[in-house]
């Protein structure tokens, strides 16, 4: 098995699905000749030509609206929006159409498209290049919201997303793009949309995170084990919506305590829904209030300060200790 970073793993998924299925079409700004500003589409226009890897004019609503039409026609468009901070230009196309065509046509048409876009902080970028607003899409009925945390799972989830009959918003944690490598098997792997996974087992505390927050969360879990002998169970959400709360509730029934981690702003963020689901399904097992370790309710600052904004292992560890300290 080859060791790959997330950029390479996503690229592999694209190569393999495009080879398998001529309905799969890439489009977006600079995805062709330039091979994507993060090089995620490397080698694709060369191999499949401009007819399947399309550099579009600079217009996000156009890219998404066109993708919707392509998907209705029977294709499997994968559009890239260069940064998630620019998906608001196409918000109405997603909310008013991608998410509704199946229902509006009463099942006659579907929109099997994937919108790929890098999200999140930590790469010393300009304004609008570090946002984490997955909650917008998670709150939108008719959309699926997926966020991988590492190379191998990114590859499997993307393949599943491409084959999903419904529109999938696929947020790629740009801070993870080249952060580390994993063994990624050549032969195809998929992972079901809508399923979280337990990445570390433990009996004392449940930690829920996803995307770029998985690494600090796992670091914190490790630290808590070493310094406090605490065994954390860590859940990688993977699919934010539709949210499968059962594995989370199950874990909390065991641990009685939980910490939720995301870099998105705190209020009305994903953490609130996860906490509410735990309350709905495991209330009587709770031994302490559930803690949120999140971005603040402000626009993420420019990079001189972004590390003070983003949750890190230390912040997560402290929150965990507070939750554990409740007797």
């Amino acid at each position: 098995m080859a060791k790959m970073n997330m950029v390479q793993a996503i690229n592999l998924a694209l190569h393999q699905e495009m080879e398998k299925d001529d309905r799969v079409i890439l489009l977006g700004e600079d995805v062709g000749r330039d091979e994507g500003v993060f090089r995620v589409t490397e080698g694709l226009v060369g191999k499949f030509g401009e007819n399947r890897v399309m550099d579009t004019p600079l217009a996000e609503s156009g890219i998404v609206g066109m993708s919707i039409g392509m998907a209705i026609y029977g294709l499997r468009p994968i559009c890239e929006i260069q940064f998630s901070g620019f998906t608001y230009e196409n918000f109405h196309q997603l909310e008013s159409h991608a998410a509704r065509i199946r229902r509006r046509s009463q099942g006659k048409y579907q929109v099997p498209m994937v919108l790929r876009t890098p999200y999140g902080g930590g790469v010393r970028a300009l304004e609008h290049h570090s946002e984490s607003r997955e909650a917008y899409w998670a709150h939108t009925p008719g959309l699926k919201m997926v966020i991988p945390s590492g190379p191998r799972i990114a590859r499997s989830l993307l393949i599943s997303a491409i084959r999903d009959p419904d529109p999938v918003i696929f947020y790629e944690p740009k801070a993870v793009y080249r952060a580390f490598r994993e063994e990624v098997p050549e032969e195809e792997e998929t992972f079901p949309i809508g399923k979280p996974r337990v990445v570390r087992e433990g009996k004392d505390l449940t930690m829920v995170a996803y995307g770029a927050m998985m690494r600090p969360t796992l670091e914190a879990a490790e630290q808590l084990k070493e310094s406090d002998g605490v065994e954390c169970e860590v859940i990688d959400l993977l699919t934010i919506s539709p949210l499968d709360d059962e594995p989370i509730a199950e874990s909390v029934r065991k641990t009685g305590r939980a910490v939720i981690v995301h870099e998105a702003p705190r209020s009305f963020g994903p953490g609130a829904e996860i906490i509410t689901r735990i309350m709905e399904k495991a209330f009587f097992y709770l031994e302490a209030p559930i803690a949120r370790v999140t971005g603040f309710d402000i626009v993420i600052p420019l990079f001189a300060r972004e590390n003070d904004y983003l949750p890190d292992a230390q912040r997560i560890t402290k929150a965990a200790r507070n939750v554990l300290s409740v007797k």
Binding site: G62, G69, P77, R102, P165
Partner: protein
């Protein structure tokens, strides 16, 4: 050549063949078989009558609001008749006539206006998209469909309808630009009915015509008398031919008029004069077309009476049928269908929740 005019293809024509008095410009008369001419006449008339019936159903509270097409029969039918089965029609919300022409069951349309999602389903044997309410947004779907046709090397086309107001939306701009850049078989049919609810065409944009907006995208644009079905038929026919030959998109501005209210929720007296409406009534697309057919000896007043009777009966049947459909449909739990191909765990729970509640209510109703 320091200060020079750039030579641009910016010729924009206006086409009119059958004027408001029914006068014909023979040199331009399109060659259309008699039976098809009559078929179009019947469809126009039927569209008008369907509107009138919808209005009175709405006034009786039997259906909700809807967007009348009266006055725009030529502008939408003259375009839609060029579509083949493998073509796609991408309407906004004021194309009930074009939709019926394409095979939409009027009873199903009624079901939709009565608030049943079931009525939104396009007929199985047609490619058309359902109604799109967000103004201008649907034009991009036509672009995507057309891209698919080109990719699959079909000679079909995507025809999208939109109003004068829609040309102000960013999505219209992006759709025109994409269609131009990728040389796609999209027919942009603008139903310029002079009003966007209460906003007149003159306040919608400073440009003299809407057709000239095509120049911004380097594609052909033409303005036609939208109440002249022969002109609409001719201009759209040329555009469709070019599109099928791979020559790309065209913008056709059909100058027409909305005779009735914007929707039944609207009162046009608030913003436009009776005189203006009456001026336009003189340009009625059906009247002048009937004159044309009579002059050709294809139609008599007696024929018209007969057709009116048939249409009346057809509409009556549709209304009755739709009422039957309403009884059969409307199971509240069906609201959970079609959000995704499969129900998610949360939706399972919510459906269960509603179903429990409904049965409890039923029981209470019985025992109370």
């Amino acid at each position: 050549m320091p200060r020079t005019e750039i030579d641009l293809p910016c010729r924009v024509e206006r086409l009119s063949i059958l004027d408001e008095h029914g006068e014909l410009d023979q040199s331009l008369e399109p060659d259309i078989p008699d039976d098809f001419l009559l078929k179009m006449h019947r469809a126009m008339l039927s569209g008008r009558r369907f509107d009138e019936r919808l209005l009175n159903l709405q006034r009786q509270g039997r259906i909700g609001t809807f967007a009348p097409i009266s006055g725009q029969e030529a502008a939408q039918l003259g375009a839609a008749v060029h579509l083949r089965r493998d073509d796609w029609m991408v309407p906004c919300f004021r194309e009930s006539l074009a939709e019926t022409w394409r095979g939409k069951d009027p009873a199903s349309a009624l079901l939709y206006f009565a608030g049943y999602d079931e009525g939104g389903r396009p007929e199985d044997d047609r490619n058309d998209l359902p109604i799109a309410v967000p103004v201008g947004s649907q034009t991009l779907h036509a672009v995507g469909l057309a891209w698919g046709m080109k990719y699959r090397e079909k000679d079909s086309v995507a025809m999208t309808f939109f109003g004068d107001g829609a040309t102000s939306e960013g999505d219209f701009h992006e759709a025109m630009n994409f269609a131009g850049v990728f040389t796609l078989p999209v027919i942009f049919v603008c139903q310029n009915n002079q009003w966007a609810i209460s906003v007149p065409r003159s306040k919608q944009t400073r440009s003299k015509t809407l057709a000239q907006k095509a120049i911004a995208y380097g594609i052909p644009g033409i303005q036609v008398d939208g109440n002249d079905i022969l002109a609409v038929y001719t201009a759209v026919g040329e555009a469709v031919d070019r599109a099928r030959k791979g020559e790309g998109p065209t913008l056709i501005e059909c100058e027409t008029y909305r005779i009735m209210m914007h929707t039944t929720a609207d009162d046009p007296k608030r913003y436009r004069s009776e005189d203006e409406v009456n001026e336009w009534k003189k340009k009625d697309p059906i009247v002048r077309y009937q004159t044309y057919l009579k002059n050709k000896g294809l139609l008599t007043d007696k024929d018209i009476e007969g057709i009116e009777e048939e249409i009346k009966a057809e509409i009556q049947t549709a209304v009755e049928h739709s009422e039957k459909m309403m009884k059969d449909s409307g199971d509240p739990l069906d609201m959970f269908l079609h959000t995704f191909q499969e129900l998610t765990p949360a939706l399972e729970e919510q459906k269960e929740e509603l179903s429990r509640e409904l049965s409890e209510r039923r029981q209470e109703a019985d025992h109370g």
